[in-house]
């Protein structure tokens, strides 16, 4: 199943970068700007997470892009075109928008919710029907027929959020804005939906600006992270690995928290360490705990520590791939980490 059978193939050929050019927003009646001279570029197809303290201007930054909020000064360009040159309503129809609590219309069925933008765009009925089915499959709500007629109140939070994502993707917009889309989910559901969304993102390659409170979510999802500090100033804009290893200032270091070092380990999987290691030496001890190849170093470390062992046996579908030592986990080979931090952009 390809995603673009009913949607125009825009994203791969078109430049859909989002450029913030000296963007400042001062709300009327406020003494300090909510955003102050923000300069970032989200490259075509990139997933950028905006993080920062509450009131740091994250939502404002997002709403400036689809013109729900007006710029005070500076400019935002999507694919080299200033958003001010496009009528606001037309602009919004080319931007996917997903928010916390899903923002689904309670009086619309799942199918009707997903069809909102295509209907506004006057797609014909059969195309909308096909597209809706395609999207539900994409977000894992199958069999499609059993979901179409449900109302949001009949869905779990995670299911609602999946429909919210499907709705934002409906008209195949080149750009996606997501404002804490998973903020209301419990940790387990949240992880599952994050994984799914990452997979979707890799498949459809939308330029995505993703606001989150949760630095761990940003580290997991983002190609690059933009960290805002109070007063709406950009503190750092870099890859997760770079942000974790070289925080730009004290604010960033504190924002990342005391577990910054551990978080960094969450960026690399044991499989990557095995690959990077020249000698995947054979068992030293026979009672090593087992870990799956796709777990992160952080998770593996936890397993090793819980078992009181000095390393772990790496398994994949029941077969033994090799072993990692405690030392490998705590101080992974540099090329394993680099391989990770360079990935994503332009892939």
């Amino acid at each position: 199943m390809t995603l673009s059978s009913t949607a125009p193939k825009t994203t791969s050929t078109m430049n859909s970068s989002i450029v913030f050019d000296q963007v400042t927003k001062l709300y009327p009646g406020q003494a300090a700007p909510a955003l102050d001279s923000l300069d970032i570029e989200v490259k075509s197809g990139e997933l950028v997470c905006l993080v920062g303290p509450s009131g740091g201007g994250k939502t404002t930054a997002l709403q400036l892009v689809n013109r729900l909020v007006d710029l005070s000064s500076g400019d935002i360009r999507i694919g080299d075109r200033s958003i001010m040159d496009i009528p606001a309503i037309e602009l919004r129809r080319t931007i996917g928008y997903a928010i916390q609590q899903s923002g689904l219309f309670p009086h619309y069925t799942v199918a009707e919710n997903i069809a909102i933008v295509p209907t506004i765009l006057k797609w014909d009925k059969s195309r909308i029907t096909r597209r809706t089915a395609e999207l539900l499959e994409l977000v894992g709500l199958t069999p499609v027929d059993s979901w179409l007629g449900r109302y949001p109140s009949q869905l779990s939070g995670g299911q609602q959020q999946r429909v919210g994502i499907a709705r934002a993707l409906a008209a195949d917009p080149p750009v996606m804005l997501m404002d804490e889309p998973f903020g209301a989910l419990d940790p387990i559901t949240r992880m599952a939906v994050q994984d799914e969304f990452l997979e979707i993102h890799r498949a459809v390659g939308k330029t995505t600006l993703f606001v989150t409170h949760d630095i761990d979510e940003a580290i997991k999802m983002a190609d690059r992270i933009a960290i805002l500090k109070p007063g709406g100033k950009l503190a750092q804009y870099d890859t997760p690995a770079e942000v974790l290893t070289h925080p730009a200032d004290k604010f960033v270091a504190e924002f990342l928290g005391a577990e910054r070092g551990l978080k960094r380990l969450a960026l690399t999987t044991v499989a990557e360490v095995l690959l990077a290691k020249a000698d995947s030496e054979l068992p030293v001890e026979s009672d090593l705990p087992k870990v799956e190849a796709d777990v992160t170093l952080r998770e593996a470390l936890s397993v090793v520590s819980a078992a009181g062992a000095h390393g772990a046996r790496v398994m994949e579908r029941g077969s033994h791939l090799g072993d990692v030592t405690l030392h490998d986990l705590v101080d992974p080979p540099a090329n394993a980490v680099d391989a990770k931090s360079g990935e994503g952009i332009g892939s």
């Binding site: 709403q63 689809n66 729900l68 309503i89 037309e90 602009l91 919004r92 129809r93 931007i95 928008y97 928010i99 916390q100 609590q101 923002g103 219309f105 309670p106 009086h107 619309y108 069925t109 909102i116 933008v117 506004i120 109302y151 949001p152 109140s153 009949q154 709705r167 804005l177």
Partner: protein
């Protein structure tokens, strides 16, 4: 003992009266309905659109609230008395009084219905590229409809029951019977009162039914699952 027995007899006497004077009561009822429903309709025609519009632009809270408070503070009897004092008696005046009675709840409920629409929802709607009119038609109105109808329901019960008093203004209706013990006897007065009460309950129930129909499906589901 004797007195209460007498009262019971009179209350029961109301039913034979209703049976014996059914034609006359029906005539008075239709008058009564005209006196109450015409002002109600006028209040709907003006109050609903104005309330919706003010709610949509999120302005006029002050207006909506103060009109409601004035409406609440003024008992209908006083209102009619004041009005008769100002403009004199007659059917039109009774209707104006009833209009003034019906207008505040209709306006303020319609205003609240739209103004209180979930901001996240309207933001999502605008963010998807809906025009303001589409936001109104597809989000604010369907979700606010039950509340708009609640306002009309309140106003309808109020006008139907208060139309009785409008007789003071010489406008006809069931008040003619209720306020004329000389002609109709105590049975007649009670019969009229019972009849008005039944009428008000009927009107109330019609709107209750309408409300059930008007609640958007998904929202009804929500209620069903949370109860």
């Amino acid at each position: 003992m004797d007195e209460s027995e007498g009262l019971m007899n009179e209350i029961f006497g109301a039913f034979p009266f209703i049976a014996a004077n059914f034609g006359m009561l029906m005539e008075k009822t239709s008058e009564h309905l005209i006196i109450s429903l015409v002002p109600l309709l006028a209040a709907i025609v003006i109050g609903v659109p104005v309330g919706i519009w003010l709610g949509h632009i999120h302005k006029g809270e002050f207006l909506a609230v103060s009109i409601t408070n004035i409406g609440r503070a003024l008992p209908s009897l006083a209102l009619i008395a004041i009005l008769i004092g100002f403009v004199g008696i007659g059917m039109l005046n009774a209707m104006i009084a009833l209009f003034l009675l019906a207008f505040p709840p209709i306006l303020s409920y319609a205003y609240q219905a739209v103004n209180s629409a979930d901001r996240d929802l309207t933001r999502a709607a605008r963010g998807m590229g809906m025009t303001p009119l589409q936001v109104l038609n597809k989000v604010e109105l369907p979700l606010g409809l039950p509340m708009i109808i609640s306002g009309i329901r309140t106003a309808a019960v109020l006008t139907v029951s208060s139309a009785t008093i409008a007789t003071i203004a010489g406008s006809g209706g069931l008040g003619d019977v209720i306020l004329n013990q000389v002609a109709y006897g105590i049975e007649g007065v009670l019969a009229g009162a019972v009849w008005v009460a039944i009428l008000a309950i009927l009107v109330d129930q019609v709107f209750a039914l309408l409300l059930r129909v008007a609640a958007p499906t998904g929202v009804k589901q929500l209620r069903a699952t949370t109860v």
